[in-house]
Amino acid sequence: MSRAALGPALAQAPDTRVESPGYALQLERVSKRYPNGILANAEVSLGIVAGEIHAIVGENGAGKSTALKLMYGLERPDSGSIVIDGTPAVLRSPRDAMRLGIGLVPQHLKLVQSFTVAENITLGNEPCHWGFIRSKADALESVEALCARYGLPVDASRVVGQLAIGVQQRVEILKALRGKPRVLLLDEPTSLLSPQEAEALFESLEALASQGMAIVMVSHKVPEIRQVAKRFTVMRGGRVVAGGIPGDFSDEQLSELIVGQQLPRFDAARKKAERAPLLQVRNLSVRTGAAKPRLADVDLDIAAGEILGIAGVEGSGQSALFEVLCGLRAPTTGLAALDGKAISGAGVRHARESGVAYVPEDRMRVGFAPGLSLAENLFSGDYFKRPQSRRGVIDPQAMALRARRLIARFGIRPADENVSAGMLSGGNIQKAIVAREIDARPGLLLAAQPTRGVDIAAAQELHAAIVALRDSGAAILLSSTDLGELFTLADRIIVLFEGRIVAHFSAERFSQLDIGLAMTGMAIDPRANGLLPALGANRALHGTRAP
């Protein structure tokens, strides 16, 4: 999308970059400790100049999100001050921030899906007759004016739930722009976007910056930073460790600043051999009556001791595929068989009994029971079998023994099996979930975003555990938006786009460019499937036994 296409108003706008000595927004020695004891920000100082894109870089848990929340009034600092245009300000809530000219585009979209675009954008500030009756016409008008002003066109009368994610994000941006902010904050804006949508976003941001807006972008993707940010700040462990102009730093320097220590590069020790497929999926489709199928005509195999990676923009069918394979959802057509035995369409219990284990993406919501103890969470897979229970009565000793074993093997903290699971940190919860699933010695492990939001050391441990499982002969289906993770672990990668497999790469041919093109539908191979290449894409089912 070129600058000219963004709208006539923008194409004619003069370059009004203001060379201002002062900062539009500043954090001065700000600290924040959360009630659970974590020191998220320690003496953080940084300054944002108007008319520039400023990136805050760091790994998960570095404190970037917290800094952003403090800037927007979602959290209050324990000490230090926030300075806006030279004046210290107290932000008690987002409303204060908005009033003072700060807007936020959150990472997870906060739109009401059943409302129209206009209703979402004017929410909280609705144009009304007589003070309380909404005027739909005025709302539409004001949204259209907003679109024209900033060159971000959307159809204001459409229902948000029916729009693509990239468009929904644009609605979020417009929402933030409505308050005519002088500072725009964006939290991991490209996490949900394809590479091409990200490009379009960067162009819009550059245009906004050229209008004099100060833009703060939080990200952990260095290539992006280099492309779009004029200045940046590196955070690690809650502190600022560096700042300046990205061009002044080399990749190695940046990596060291962000990660902190040189962790050995993880070696997945791929083995190459001809193997018969352990998991076979044929003609799998999930159609829900909506216009686009959630999954269509998926064929794939995974051999024993192999990791198949799935790349794709969120919503391309990964969750539907996982739901079918773990038994949560019956496919509309097609079937899946593990070791010859059908696992699809018969419920979760059947799938689990057949050897399927699942590490869900939304671990906080569906992965565990926060009110129960760690031990009780760890035996949710086989609580009804010996030795965990006999004739309907639970054996607490057996439960505790298994829990202690897993805690020791996976390094879960705190090392107390009776602690309430809700007290564990995100990383430890993920370790517990992975521990539980791997300990079931599955034939197939389904892992969705297994290391998202987990710190580096824990992520490495999880990767090691996954590889160990692979080496023991299991088939692993790994879905991740972190292409680096896929490149490191997977033997083959398939790309899903709009519910279909559109590309298939073996380890030697992994290329970020090719995968990015496939993810956005620009390089579709209509004959692509996930079958084992060594078998000559033979669609016949191998050694299937009747269930």
């Binding site: 909280g124 009304c128 009756i133």
Partner: protein, 326 residues
């Protein structure tokens, strides 16, 4: 000719009875809808009906005792204000417990119901010495609204002015207006939009800068006022007296109506009329020498049947998406 006139009169009378029976349920259900829109289930509708019924009577009776010579209309108005104020206060207490102290809304709602039940009987006993009713107090009823000019068309007259030809009770009109009012509130006003946002996606509402607490307090206040009007219909409608346990489960019928109507105005109104009809049916059957206990079973059975049917219909609908349960 006379036959069809008789038929017409019968149906017109029946419609009048239906309106009367449905009024408290409608008002309470509309009140429940408002809080439901922002995600809060108001279980205390029963208690709100009771408390406003009681204080309406007390207010009008004591107004007459303390300010003699002012006229029945004045006392009735004061009773109205007292009843509404009581329901408003109780509703706001519920809101406070939930929003400020984090109380579980269902338990707190049950507590409010218990408080209303206990307090009304206690105060009734203290003030009148009678635990059954306030018959010893002279309280006042709210007026009826007569639509003139139809005396020569009996069927229409009965339809518009009830079988007594005096006019439907003003609160019946209030109930009908509340249906439009609540629908209009939710669909057309900024408060309604905000409430719906809070109910559907609280995060989005907070991100939009909405004062979630204030909006929810308003929702509970409106809910209290609506339910209050419903309670006043009980004790200041045609009878000007408060009896123990006067609400007799109507608040829960209203709650059921909200659920049955899938939390939408049209469905809720339809369900409220359904439950009102079952009450009328029970009364009609009572005249036919069917044992009273069986008759009293009809409204709850109707509720159960309706809820079961609605649940089955919803299940069949979602089954088409082929999700597998446990």
């Amino acid at each position: 000719m006379a036959d069809s006139a008789m038929q017409g009169l019968f149906w017109a009378t029946l419609i009048g009875a239906l309106l009367r029976a449905s009024t408290p349920i409608l008002l309470a259900a509309n009140g429940g809808l408002v809080t439901e829109a922002c995600g809060a289930t108001n279980v205390a509708l029963e208690g709100l009906l009771l408390i406003s019924a009681f204080f309406g009577v007390i207010g009008s009776a004591y107004a007459a005792i303390w300010m003699p010579g002012m006229g029945a209309g004045f006392y009735a108005c004061l009773g109205l204000c007292c009843g509404l104020a009581a329901a408003l206060i109780f509703s706001l207490v519920l809101a406070f417990l939930h929003l400020e102290l984090g109380a579980d809304l269902v338990i707190a709602g049950i507590g409010i119901n218990m408080l209303a039940a206990g307090l009304t009987i206690y105060l009734m006993s203290v003030l009148t010495g009678d635990k059954g009713s306030t018959a010893s107090l002279a309280s006042y009823a709210l007026p009826v609204l007569h639509i003139p000019g139809f005396a020569t068309w009996p069927i229409v007259d009965v339809l518009l002015n009830s079988e007594s030809r005096q006019g439907h009770h003003v609160l019946v009109y209030a109930a009908l207006i509340s249906c439009l009012g609540v629908h209009g509130l939710l669909a057309r006003t900024s408060l309604g939009l905000r409430l719906r946002a809070i109910g559907e996606s609280r995060e989005a509402a907070i991100a939009a800068g909405i004062d979630v607490k204030k909006s929810q307090y308003l929702a509970f206040a409106i809910s209290g006022l609506c339910a209050g009007l419903g309670g006043l219909h009980l004790s200041m409608g045609y009878l000007a007296v408060f009896q123990a346990d006067m609400s007799a489960g109507r608040g829960f019928l209203a709650l059921a109506a909200v659920f049955l109507g899938t939390r939408r105005p049209l469905g809720t109104v339809a369900a409220s009329f359904l439950f009102g009809a079952s009450t009328v049916l029970a009364a009609q059957l009572g005249l036919l020498a069917i044992p009273s206990q069986l008759v009293y079973m009809i409204p709850p059975f109707a509720t159960l049947a309706a809820m079961a049917a609605a649940g089955a219909w919803r299940r069949a609908r979602s089954r088409r998406t082929q999700a597998i349960g446990a």
